[in-house]
Symmetry: C2
Subunit: 367 residues, 2 copies
Amino acid sequence: MSWGLDNLPYGVFSRQGEAPRVGVRYGDRVLDLAAALHDEVFAAPSLNPFMARGRSAWHDTRRLIRNKLSGDLAVTEPHLVPLEQVRLHMPFEVADYVDFYCSLEHASNVGRIFRPDAEPLKPNWRHLPVGYHGRAGTVVPSGTPVRRPHGQLRAGVYGPTAKLDVEAELGFVVGVPSELGSPAGAFEDHVFGVTLVNDWSARDIQAFEYVPLGPFLGKSFATSISPWVTPLEALPRVPGRTQDPEPIDYLRRKDDWGLDITLEVELNGEVISRPPYRDMYWTPDQMLAHLTVNGASLRTGDLFASGTVSGEAREERGSLIELTWNGTDPVKLRSGETRTFLQDGDAVTIRATAGDVSLGEVYGKVG
Amino acid sequence: MSWGLDNLPYGVFSRQGEAPRVGVRYGDRVLDLAAALHDEVFAAPSLNPFMARGRSAWHDTRRLIRNKLSGDLAVTEPHLVPLEQVRLHMPFEVADYVDFYCSLEHASNVGRIFRPDAEPLKPNWRHLPVGYHGRAGTVVPSGTPVRRPHGQLRAGVYGPTAKLDVEAELGFVVGVPSELGSPAGAFEDHVFGVTLVNDWSARDIQAFEYVPLGPFLGKSFATSISPWVTPLEALPRVPGRTQDPEPIDYLRRKDDWGLDITLEVELNGEVISRPPYRDMYWTPDQMLAHLTVNGASLRTGDLFASGTVSGEAREERGSLIELTWNGTDPVKLRSGETRTFLQDGDAVTIRATAGDVSLGEVYGKVG
């Protein structure tokens, strides 16, 4: 069965007329945790209170749920709600949202496109995971329609973006806060799980605005996340990609935090790319170490994303700007249509799997 | 009397052993609003619920408070708590934090320092108020000690910043949310008031990290704000500075939102700069229009700051990097000492006044 006992991601659901609360997906049903486990923390409309409990509570709860689901199902059955009877909500309240730039191939592609006559990577890129803060208030749940943003496309020219794009990413969700003034502790003591992120982007707005303070309105209109947060425990870990030069001490890997996850970008029902997370240059533990090395504190609900996942092959690129080389080489769809950037009415789904474990999908339609 | 009836800023205070709640400063005392106005919204530990009520509630409450304070003081007296008996807290919960770059003089100075051989202003600067998102979770109240951040100062070199700096700014606090997908309405329908901001910066960390995605760890370790939020109504408005070229439609000023406020930067008890807010190139209404032109929504508690306030004269520059020209021309203090950037133990206070109206101060000590 897919979505089986090794999967069990957390989300927030509601039945008609009832308040949203925390559930776990099992097959095509949702386990109502407040009812099944008699624990009020799951009656909250977000994962935050549960995520704040920390690593051993996460572990114990997962074991408890597996026991319930593999034990006498007659007891648990009444608390399993068919998916078609529920509505899925934002799984957690986002505190701060940070977006990194961890794919060597993505950073190189974008560098070549935006600065064709210069070295594609900036001098800092191999020395630290470059990142920036995004807008937490416009992180929206899967299914939220995406309105094409207007803005200044070049000096003095206002209009709807002509270069609406997607970015397929993984997002890491912080459960346990850290103290202001000290770097965070071990990755698995703070990070609860993983969500899928579509970091919608308006490339023309971004290209005009981003010097010298970085992306702003080209990104802040919407960032979609998947309804299910997959616990770290469910994800098979592999060694991270070799880094050259060897990173400085605070960024040195202490453990294997490479993740063997394959993403899939689907445009109007057709898969146009399969970005491999496994090949990312900077691993999630390095992102967390960097984010807090200056003493910045973490809060429950902090979300930090990987940046676009792109592999070496063309069909592994996680954004349209790369897939179409800034619109010069359109993607051909089965329907005979072509795409450079998104048109109104286009629908994008990003999915991901790690072997038998599904991370679900994040969906958004332009219009 | 200073802090009189034309001032009346809002903050959050507590007496020993009591829970934090909302008060208004009057002279050297704090009016306990929950007690004086019999309104539970002021029993909250933050201004957010009150700010969410909107413009006419803000106006009516201010009138009510003035009536109480100018009426029979015997009735109000028991609700006036001497300042020395209270502790001041974060006045509001920060939703998203955005920092702009609105001073022509500051942007020009920094451009000259960082890129001496190029045009100091980037091609976008006169066409839109450049801005970026900062870390909301590390916005801290005045008085919070500032730990000198560590980080990568240049490729492969880790250590404490050698260029710890301040930035004197005004921050604008959003009360009324706006809808995702549409630009916000009129400035005064959304923005509740003004706070002082010290945007602490580590210039070496910032200089290495900031291309191409903007400032990140060089800023995210701490941003201090003043305890008192001055309502817009208390601030005298003046025409904004002339802009060339005339801004595009969505940025065109509909009203006078220039603010005649003078800031003061004090280092270890000595005033080293008096930046004039009046001369800022981009006005606060333009910042808000820009922030939401792409459909990004506002939340109660959003904070957007002006960027460093710097005037034309040397003694009007709002950061040490400008005052000392990146450390090449130290500031001479009365004590005979000099400063390029901040040393451990240094204390910085930023104050501001608008005629007789005081915006109070934001204080921080490095240590």
